[in-house]
């Protein structure tokens, strides 16, 4: 029962996020708004209940299952955009490599400088 109660709370936060998105026409998904609202709520109340923690852990452990169907579609759309695929693949691969390196170098340097080496692994 506990995990079901936690699931209900997560679904309610999702619906709350969706409602905010629809009412205020926010360009962000209901899931992300719900995530932020839940984090805020936990910060205010100062603790995660057992039911929310176990429902959250269960869902996160199957996250990969939820992104598989989307990834599978890649195998079935290759016919479209013929002639553009070289530009698509090269720009995605090189662009992603550059931005990964930028993020790692920048954040690592700032983390050392601003938050101090001593407790950086705390």
């Amino acid at each position: 029962m506990s995990i079901l109660r936690g699931f209900l709370i997560l679904v309610l936060f999702f619906l709350l996020g969706e409602s905010l998105r629809l009412v205020f026409e926010v360009p962000v998904s209901g899931g992300i708004l719900g995530l932020m609202l839940l984090t805020l709520y936990l910060m205010v109340t100062g603790g995660v209940g057992h039911s929310v923690a176990s429902a959250s852990q269960a869902l996160i452990s199957v996250l990969i299952l939820l992104i598989m169907p989307g990834l599978t579609e890649i195998f079935f759309i290759s016919g479209k955009f013929s002639g553009q695929w070289l530009a698509v693949i090269v720009s995605l691969l090189v662009g992603t490599f550059l931005s990964v390196v930028t993020t790692l170098v920048l954040l690592n340097a700032l983390a050392r400088k601003l938050s101090g080496g001593a407790n950086s692994h705390g």
């Binding site: 997560l10 195998f75 759309i77 662009g95 992603t96 690592n108």
Partner: protein, 243 residues
Amino acid sequence: MDSSFTSWERLLTLPQVLAGTPMLAIAMTILAFFAADRLYIAIGRPVWLPPVVPAATILAGMIVLLGLDADSYREGADWLMLLLGPATVALGVPLYQNIHHIRAMLWPIVITLPIAASLAVAYTLVIAWALGASPTVMVSLAPKSVTAAIALGIGDTIGSSVPLLMAALLITGVFSTLCVEVAVRLLKITDERVIGFALGLNGHAIGTVRAFEISTTAGAFSSLGMSLTGLFTALFLPIMFRL
């Protein structure tokens, strides 16, 4: 089913008939997930191969073998993907549990986010433009580092092609996890918070799945990177394309 068919013929049309209920797609997805898990362990968990790749490949193979078309699979799998909403909300729990780590990293994150999230878009667009990509392709590649639900919303605003946008998201997600593995070794970065944030900022949900395999702290920073990049890009891209 028509009784004038033989049992054999009825057996052959079974996949199409069962595809009318979401249960077939759900069973196929979970089956592929476990098969890929076994395979992944059997080949020794190579770092260059994010586990979602063999999983999706096995799943695509099953769709072809059963003679289903991608659309009827997708209709069934949509039932499973409904869980993506509450699963995204669930990321708030590790985020909260790591809030002290995040407070300690507040300024580095505040400075890195706008720079890295803008460059993630800019690098790819400049290269695509140099290689002669059409305007439709460019607007479809732009939200590549954003998690699917937000990216589809952005794509709607700026006029992206949905299948190409999805492909760009997935290629970026998979390749980001690979790049992070390699770059972390080359740059000798050991801070799990930095690794997690880079995975979420660049590789959205696919990066976040990988980050949770490293540790909950990496997962929390990845969730944070994914959420902040989603917010930032959702606000910034439509404005940029209007100019």
